[in-house]
């Protein structure tokens, strides 16, 4: 245990913090929402049911890559009959990885779950701290790879939203509330990806001379603008994806029927 604010030589103040505001609210809300999401997502991922109701597929199960997928939900069955678990488990690792290594979520969970620190100028309860220099946290540095993979998912989920303009028989010219839900979900995911810090770096952040790369500078400027709202898109897309899944689940399970516009 090494001393923090009570280290020798520093002003002797025993209080962990002298903050008078409700600094604990933010980490508490973060934890509450993330825990709720994790519980919901785990249940749904293992449930292995109610994820497809033509033409809608839940984002938790798309792309559905195993032969045990519900008929109609899978376009390419890479995984053969030997895969007996929920097909969601094959793919969820990627969006999970994208969010776990995300520069915003890192802040959120370091503060919320690990109290490192719980809030600014509030002492953390750990004796030792090594940051992101060792396994496993050093893995956060591969965020960009998850970003690239995330783009593939965005394409697939956009495709899902587009084919939701077909009806359950495959005929074009349909739109239901589900179509809008999938469309909104895909849009939020694109915004979340586009506002990502790694995206900003790839677009132009690594350049030294913007003036020599006018197109990349423009792209960087645009991403920079979105990037200031990365936290918002992170939460909006997280809640968006859960709601999209919930909607499909409710329709597939027969609890509600899809509201069809045309």
């Amino acid at each position: 245990m090494t001393a923090g604010t009570t280290a020798p030589g520093r002003a002797q103040i025993s209080a962990r913090t002298l903050r008078t505001d409700r600094w604990w609210v933010q980490p508490a809300v973060t934890v509450a929402v993330l825990v709720a999401f994790i519980i919901y997502a785990t249940i749904r991922a293992f449930q292995n049911a109610d994820y497809y109701s033509a033409p809608y597929i839940s984002p938790f199960y798309s792309p559905c890559l195993a032969t045990n997928c519900v008929p109609g939900s899978s376009e390419v069955a890479v995984f053969g009959g030997w895969w007996a678990l929920s097909p969601a488990l094959i793919i969820l690792i990627f969006p999970l990885g994208f969010r776990l290594t995300c520069y915003y979520y890192r802040k959120a969970y370091y503060r919320g779950f690990w109290s490192s620190p719980p809030a600014c100028a509030v002492a953390e309860p750990h004796g030792k701290y090594t940051g992101e220099r060792r396994f496993p946290l050093v893995l956060n540095n591969i965020h960009r790879y998850f970003f690239y993979i995330g783009l593939i998912f965005n394409v697939i989920l956009t495709y899902d939203a587009v084919i939701a303009f077909r009806d359950s028989t495959g005929a074009w010219g349909h739109m239901g509330l589900g179509t809008l839900v999938l469309l909104a979900n895909a849009t939020l995911l694109w915004l979340y990806s586009a506002s990502c810090h790694s995206c900003r770096h790839v677009m132009g952040g690594r350049l030294t001379h913007f003036s020599k790369h006018p197109v990349r500078y423009k792209a960087w400027t645009l991403v920079s603008k979105l990037n200031t709202r990365h936290m918002f898109f992170a939460w909006a897309s997280l809640i968006g994806v859960a709601l999209a899944d919930l909607y499909v689940a409710l329709v597939a399970g027969g609890t509600i029927t899809d509201l069809r516009f045309f």
Partner: protein
């Protein structure tokens, strides 16, 4: 207009000290530093406080007010209610000298360890040409008034004295970012040095540096994360290294 405010001010030195109570007059439009000055002039003539410009430009009067790292000259009394007790302590990450004055030499030592700007060879003074868009990122970081509130609030050193050896803190990691983004800096390997010599890996981007910056510099988003990405270019991106792309 004026009212009597309740203040608690930490007084003492490295040997020990405590929060002392004061009741002091406050007038319209005043900031915390005005009140501390009034205490000096009327009740505690030897109360130590470091200050200079009183306009938020020099970064001398850093302290913690109601537990939050702030400049005393830029904290208006109107943000507190009249019956609220205002607690003022020295910064809690640096050794205290006396009362509100701390020993900030850690920062000057770290400043010296960042390799200076390396002028480009063969470019005479007066011949420097830089585009505005190329200097803007570094200019943001050069707004820094070196109040060291970011260093003070960073839990890496605030909560772990032993990390001071290996971690230069947000102010100086930002200085490295500033130089790395400088269009004419000829020093190579700043990103690598950020990782190996200055402890960028300690940073877990919890953004308190940005939260407390009185100049509103986006330290985390614009300096630290871009540096982490540049470090990733060198150390954690095998595919990129395979292509060995230069983007200068």
């Amino acid at each position: 207009m004026g009212y009597k405010a309740k203040f608690k001010v930490w007084r003492g030195d490295a040997e020990g000290g405590d929060l002392q109570d004061f009741t002091v007059e406050v007038n319209e439009g005043e900031v915390v530093l005005d009140v501390i000055h009034r205490l000096q002039a009327t009740q505690a003539p030897d109360m130590a406080v470091r200050w200079n410009c009183k306009a938020g430009k020099c970064g001398s009067c850093s302290a913690e007010i109601n537990g939050r790292p702030r400049l005393m000259c830029m904290t208006r009394m109107s943000v507190f209610s009249e019956d609220e007790t205002v607690t003022v302590t020295p910064m809690r990450t640096f050794p205290v000298i006396r009362d509100l004055v701390t020993d900030v030499s850690y920062n000057y030592e770290k400043a010296r360890e960042v390799p200076a700007f390396a002028p480009p060879e063969g470019v005479a003074p007066g011949e420097y040409r830089m585009e505005q868009v190329d200097v803007e990122r570094s200019q943001e970081f050069r707004k820094c008034i070196e109040c060291f509130l970011c260093q003070n609030t960073c839990h890496v050193v605030r909560d772990h004295e032993d990390n001071k050896t290996n971690f230069s803190g947000p102010r100086f990691l930002m200085r490295i970012a500033e130089l790395d983004m400088h269009p004419l800096d000829a020093h190579e390997n700043r990103a690598q040095e950020a990782k190996t010599d200055h402890g960028l890996g300690f940073c877990n981007i919890t953004k308190c540096c940005t939260e407390v910056c009185p100049e509103h510099i986006k330290i985390t988003d614009n300096a630290l994360i871009p540096m982490k990405e540049r470090v990733a270019d060198h150390y954690y991106d095998p595919i990129l290294r395979l292509f060995k792309r230069t983007n200068k």
